[in-house]
Symmetry: C2
Subunit: 562 residues, 2 copies
Amino acid sequence: MADSWQDRAKQKREAILAAIPLEWRIKDLPSVEEKRDVTGDYISGFLSEKEVAITETDAEKIVEKTAKGEWKAEEVARAFCHRAALAHQLLNCLHEVFFDAAIESARALDAYFAEHGRPTGPLHGLPVSLKDQFHVKDVETTMGYVGWIGTFEGKTGTGKEKVHESEMVRELRSLGAVLYCKTSVPHTLMSGETMNNIIGYTFNPKNRNLTAGGSSGGEGALIGIRGSPVGFGTDIGGSIRIPAAFNGLYGIRPSTGRLPYEGMANSMDGQNTILSVVGPLAPTLGSLRLLVKAILSQQPWLHDPLVHEMPWRDSHEREITTLLNPEDPNSGAKLCFGVIATDGIVTPTPPIRRAIDIVVNALRSQGHEVVEWQPPSHRDILDQAFKTWEFDAGTDLKGAFALSGEPMLPQVSSFSTLEKQYSAAEIVAVNVRLRELKKHYMEYWNSTAKLSKTGRCVDAVIGPVAPWPAARPEKYAYYGYTTWVNALDYTSVVVPVTEVDKKIDVVDKDYQPMDERDRTCFESYDPEIYDGAHVSLQLVGRRLQEEKMLAIAEYVGKVVGR
Amino acid sequence: MADSWQDRAKQKREAILAAIPLEWRIKDLPSVEEKRDVTGDYISGFLSEKEVAITETDAEKIVEKTAKGEWKAEEVARAFCHRAALAHQLLNCLHEVFFDAAIESARALDAYFAEHGRPTGPLHGLPVSLKDQFHVKDVETTMGYVGWIGTFEGKTGTGKEKVHESEMVRELRSLGAVLYCKTSVPHTLMSGETMNNIIGYTFNPKNRNLTAGGSSGGEGALIGIRGSPVGFGTDIGGSIRIPAAFNGLYGIRPSTGRLPYEGMANSMDGQNTILSVVGPLAPTLGSLRLLVKAILSQQPWLHDPLVHEMPWRDSHEREITTLLNPEDPNSGAKLCFGVIATDGIVTPTPPIRRAIDIVVNALRSQGHEVVEWQPPSHRDILDQAFKTWEFDAGTDLKGAFALSGEPMLPQVSSFSTLEKQYSAAEIVAVNVRLRELKKHYMEYWNSTAKLSKTGRCVDAVIGPVAPWPAARPEKYAYYGYTTWVNALDYTSVVVPVTEVDKKIDVVDKDYQPMDERDRTCFESYDPEIYDGAHVSLQLVGRRLQEEKMLAIAEYVGKVVGR
């Protein structure tokens, strides 16, 4: 008799744990009450001094050291495997653990270095974590579905099981990266929290009362606790930016067609009104740039039919760095920022509003211009965007659950109530309307050249990623602050700004919620529960402006002291 | 009582003619039997020497002269208006005639030149014709539908009627172009022939037994007879390349996202599995380059949300021109071409096969490599591609016909028999399959680096545009030679090669057709009927390779003596 879904989930959950060496197990796991914040000193207590030094070094500096042979790939890999193993026990952030393969590939890199006296590539010996949509040889991809265990995307006998690799995995390997784990996702991928019937719930390392975010929540938690120096997530409605923001990380949502999604598992694959994109999350901006540049050096447009031939554009980056260089003769030239304090649909909570003030004041103090962003209605954009999630009436998602009989968790259960698929004519109507709205927004953005003192259009728009610093479990009720960016296919980079301080970020008792959803979001904020959580914002740029936005985000991070 | 659709069509047809000055009317229109070929001396007989000189000058040389003030914009505009007026009477190739507005804008350009001593832009005083999908101020867009007369895309009271301009129209004006007419299309746009209930049938000027092609057939006919130096068509399944090929013209089907389609009328707008693209047709390759470069200089990505920020890339062009420069020290470096003699579904007719031999022999004689192109199945690609035309079961098209009650002409009547729309899940399945097929084709193309002696991948693929040099009316039975390019979103440039010679291009009496469609195509070729027709081929390159493919097409045109 076939095992129940509960049994299969348990076996998988135990297999993940079993892949963690015994000497890396935590004997007495602390409760949330005992230990809300498990980052920093707490987790470092389980590591050697060298392991702490390695895992608290950012990707740029790691490859500096491995490229000179100062650090061996193997010791770097071991240190991150150890910290990732601890992270998973504290946070439930891993779906796949393949430390042995990682050590083996790290040794091969060390052997290459020993023989040739030079690194294999720009990511020589850099551990990179991957969201559990990437296919890696010898490793499963469950995407959190019990029914996908032991299959290739729910199918058996495809010949691809544990053999097929995603295009970006091939590129990362050839750049010298070391792959060692795949991170947790919410089943369906369609949630700002990360939970499934296999690993349970992924918690926020900085404040375990809260979610690590989703859908790249495992990445957020793992990198947040420095169990990975850099990792890749995906984003169709905020899924890179939400976990980046909730874990105090930088994260980029590139525009579609910039980085290769080819050969990855996905939800509702083939829905091409709003495409999911792939991008990195990391504790430093330089790490994002390193990864984006490295991937583009592989000419992904020759291997992914949806990627545009658009190499890394130094000139775009230089345009910003030159403007911002105080030693440049043109340094009178400044940037102009738009700011979204609220979208008028859901009011951001106090810590988010304070973060906006911090950024605005810091930029103004440097002589930059900040103007109110008054774009065409975000509500109109969101009305269309959210339809795309319902085009197939949940057919794809329901099919994945039906494979095992497991239930949809509450965060995504609304998909089970959808009944009628959109027809072709209904879909094209959404496509046409979205194109019109993109055009309106584009012309608004063009019009800001008249508004700004720089004579240029607004360079970047500062805005919330979500109404809260992070959501409380089962309380992620609004995606509007991220999804407008996907609908318009803009470039967005998340920048960490501050932390919740319960003494400052008090509830505004006089606030009158605009409607039920606004009330839900308002009421979910509690300074006691949120105290200490990361608070981050996003910087939104126009389509395909990755170089420019990375440069601006690095600068903004600097002026707010990150 | 409302007029019948017949009356409304007749009124519109007569209004088009009425916009042609009386002195430009042809008294005794010759029958096809009397005058098969109305190009060259025949049409020149109606024009002054100066008008002939102007209208037989290509776009590059026209703007050379207008930029120096050697020719006035007004005299250039008048000459092309005159020749276009003659063309329409012989071929039924115009939907909208706005010569007065053209003369007025030409005069404004001349006044600017007189005042400032320099041209307004790179297209100063260049007449440009437009397919009747472009919206131009003060001018209707019917797209061949009786029901669209007096409306904005079939709707009234939108406030856009005769006011709204397409983005490219705005750009052409600001570049200095003179707009003077809009050209005929088949109703629905979904045909390789051009016919509708307003203007009737658009004939091929070189051989009026044949179609001018479609759906940009009015452009093909008008430019073919030199009533326009350059014009813009659109292509979702061959609609730029077919009329370019049938009229002995160069024409480029760029990849999606290169040139701005924003604000144009379209069929089945919002179907975004395979997008229609816009591109120029002209008698010389240099004219295409001039227009593509000029449009890109306008940064269309700031005004069309679907255009990628990809300026004209000189380096891409230089890569080819350097390789082909005999004075270059590396001139041992040559190109490698793939050749598609047949797709195995429909066998090309004798003139097409001879054209392929001409090109292959010419290239080999210059030392280039030509290898057989053995790609993944085109049939699989086409099976998916043709589904996209039927996604909405003809809902959009039927709606346009229902506005007036006019009938679908036989070339497109199969749309009336469609009943069931595709569901969202069915559409995504097509999207996923097409992406897989693109990936396979991409990897095949990558693999040709091993095949070629150049060490590079195949630079361009030589292939037919259609099984025949041009189709006979109501005999356009196969779109496979063009549509695979749309499905893969490749760049393609049509190159004129030769003309049908009934003495050489005889029917192969021993040929055994593979199936009924192949038989239909085989039997539609008749050397007597086809004698003198243009024979052209396409050169297909990878996605977004416009600069490279224009450079290669120019070279191929040169070596075949065009």
